[in-house]
């Protein structure tokens, strides 16, 4: 139900910090993913359909679905962290609920339980058709850990 409340927008500094980190994720650029929404405790990532992200039947590969879900959850947690922190995925579990097809998929990471050390996120991925029709294609749960950024 936390997923229902409209989260507050993230500050420009937080948005900046997250976009900069996202730009350093070589995998996201390589897949063609982009961040489309950054709120406090909530991040959306979109991945357009193309052959490079498919499994053997032409649907989005579970690995691609999971990759953007993992990043969305990680950045959702990161919006709530102090400036000198980094975020690492401890683990996640994801159910693939339906073949992921459509114009693009959209991952929504939402903080379910913030914490000083550990944060738990809900992961949702929707298949979105060209006409805007959405279907939940994957649902998961993720544990993240906050670590202090190493001094330079």
């Amino acid at each position: 139900m936390e997923a229902q409340a409209q989260p507050e927008p993230a500050s420009p500094e937080v948005q900046q910090r997250i976009l900069a980190s996202f730009d350093r994720q070589g995998l996201m650029a390589h897949l063609g993913a982009r961040i489309t929404h950054i709120a406090s405790g909530r991040v959306h990532i979109v991945l357009p359909a193309r052959t490079e992200v498919t499994q053997q039947h032409g649907y989005f590969h579970a690995g691609a679905t999971s990759a953007i879900a993992d990043s969305a959850g990680g950045y959702a947690a990161y919006t709530l962290f102090p400036e000198d922190s980094e975020v690492l995925t401890v683990e996640y579990k994801i159910n693939l609920l339906a073949p992921a097809a459509g114009d693009h998929i959209e991952a929504v990471g939402t903080v379910l339980k913030p914490g000083r050390t550990l944060t738990v996120c809900r992961l949702e991925v929707f298949g979105v058709q060209s006409d805007g029709k959405r279907e939940l294609v994957a649902n998961g749960q993720q544990t993240l850990i906050r670590v202090n950024r190493p001094e330079r």
Copy 2:
């Protein structure tokens, strides 16, 4: 412990079937992954390090690690399926145990419990250095479902 027994080699037909399916996974080619071992109930997939598969700190992205783990488990199950079957991932859970670095990572999918409908696999991913040193960087568990291949 199933992981310990040396599994029997898969038949040439099974190897052929799996390599053909793997070649249709656009994501695997796009990431640069390749199958290196196909045994009965056990499949290995290797992913070389390069910028295109990193997260923000330069390590392998959890999404890349998971993608090859998911495919390795799926094909491990597939080795045990009758010819007219397809395999779909129901869900998986993965712990990222250590930063995944090195020359390449290697995913090992092993059938833990085969079944007529559902199969459960163990997923292990190792970071491998140029000198051959290996470290377990991720460990997971996956549920797969066998479905009849649609008639054409």
Copy 3:
């Protein structure tokens, strides 16, 4: 979000079927758990606090929390099954978000994705104080399988 919609009440036949099955779960009686709500795709189970369900620090044991969460999800799925079916848990994953304390805990199982063979549920457990204050203490995700009831 499915968790938000008020589900329809289950028919008297379904309620009857579930209460009869619940009464056959020796563990639920032994723990002191009871079903408090049966709707279509949603079941609540309550477990009162007592020494017999604690871990070493006096909180509800993760095993007790999980046990009622697992049963709540299983019966939530069962409300949607045809009469001649049985339900089995394939797997679940649960995060323990906070020490579970209070007058009682309440597990809410909600069908997230129904299916002919597999059904996926969301599992939530709340710690409830004597004054009615509620806190989410555990959150999980569960996969269930429908099987035909064996003939007698």
Copy 4:
């Protein structure tokens, strides 16, 4: 494969510490579970069959299976912790692989990856017949956190 190596026996102090903690788990006594083996990074817990731990078909309830698996993993981690620590379950995932029946079930918790803050365990539960025949009935993976014991 870590599960294969014969772990070293735990020191008498560690064994003492764990047995004392186990005795404070009201749930374990109430279920009738007992610790049967404490090694460094490995703990076994046995639960005899009786009506009080069943689900609706007379098999061991997934909640009972999980409860002893969770405790076995928690204490396996605890064997590696410094004396002034406590252990809490962060999360776990468990697959129920086969109906759990027999004379008793035995949970084996094994540390897969120890850590200063987080420890990851493998959870295995075997159904054991009166004649000693064993079958793997559940397999899981658990994340635990070490916390400093509160001063008194």
